[in-house]
Amino acid sequence: MSIEENRNCGCNCMCNEEENTVDCDMRREMIQEIRCLEFGITELALYLDTHPEDEKALCLHRKYCKQVKDLKDKYQKVYGPLTINYPCNKWRWLEEPWPWERGNF
């Protein structure tokens, strides 16, 4: 695997090992799912700001909030914190690439 491909993977793992490639894919998939849910929540929140009586939107908002909470808990346990209010035994905030860096998740 070239350096370029390795960089695009973005995590600190060595992606020429098959096991870690799988892990990278899984991580990417998980963060993408979190992003989708967060987007849905933002979009619904803006809509609810001007349509607070819409029960259907409120119900969907509740559903996505619960799903993203569960998924974030699962993600952060394995890949480190997404916010500084996630408790760690070791300060893992510095370990992962920042969102603006190439090859981020």
Binding site: E4, N8, I31, Q32, I34, R35, E38, F39, T42, E43, A45, L46, Y47, D49, T50, H51, P52, P81, L82, T83, I84, N85, W93, E96, W98, P99, W100, R102, G103, N104, F105
Partner: protein, 197 residues
């Protein structure tokens, strides 16, 4: 207060350096219709809004604009980070490089630094919301011009298209908030004289 989420609102992974594109995209970072102006405009105007819906929408869209500011900064950063000095010169970025290196500095495409004069807090909720509607349209138009200029770079086009779409949603929500404020201000006021006090 805010809590930082260590993720982008929409993924950005630009494989090839291209400082020429960065030179124009930076306008959506610190230019007149950029994300910094948008976030400051809404977060400053929210204090004076007369109803709950308008306060909420300015607060929440202002917050989303901060996420967009980070996205535009990320695009500029990834387009310039590994640029050679020759590429920087060829892109016409020698002046920028002199003052800022390849840091991401809030300025317009034409080179003037961010100016709070581009946002108005007029002390009038109707005027403010009308300004916000125009601001969203101007940002949409700017993204469309950037999309024209970046037509050959799929990695850049994808997040630009996403950001353009958000302007349209925000315009819609501001229109609804404006209607709410107009209705509230048009309500008849009744003054009761309480004889017991």
């Amino acid at each position: 207060m805010w809590t930082y989420n260590k993720m982008l609102q929409y993924p950005i992974n630009i494989k090839c350096t291209d400082p020429k594109l960065a030179k124009v995209i930076i306008s959506q970072y610190g230019g007149p219709d950029g994300e910094l102006a948008a976030s400051l405009r809404y977060l400053s105007q929210r204090f004076g809004m007369p109803d709950q819906k308008a306060k909420a929408i300015l607060n929440d869209i202002g917050t989303e604009e901060l996420a967009h500011l980070e996205m535009v900064g990320t695009i500029v950063h990834q387009l310039t980070k590994d640029a050679s000095i020759e590429e920087i010169e060829k892109a016409g970025l020698s002046a920028y490089y002199t003052d800022h290196g390849v840091d991401v500095y809030p300025q317009a495409a034409a080179g003037f630094p961010f100016n709070a004069g581009v946002l108005a807090c007029k002390g009038d909720p109707i005027a403010n919301l009308q300004e916000d509607l125009a601001a969203e349209q101007k940002a949409r138009a700017t993204y469309e011009k950037l999309i024209d200029l970046c037509r050959d770079n799929a990695d850049v086009l994808d997040p630009l298209r996403y950001l353009r779409e958000r302007e349209i949603v925000h315009f819609q929500r501001f229109g609804e908030a404006l209607r709410g404020v107009q209705d509230k201000l048009a309500e008849k006021k009744y003054y009761m004289n309480d004889n017991n006090c």
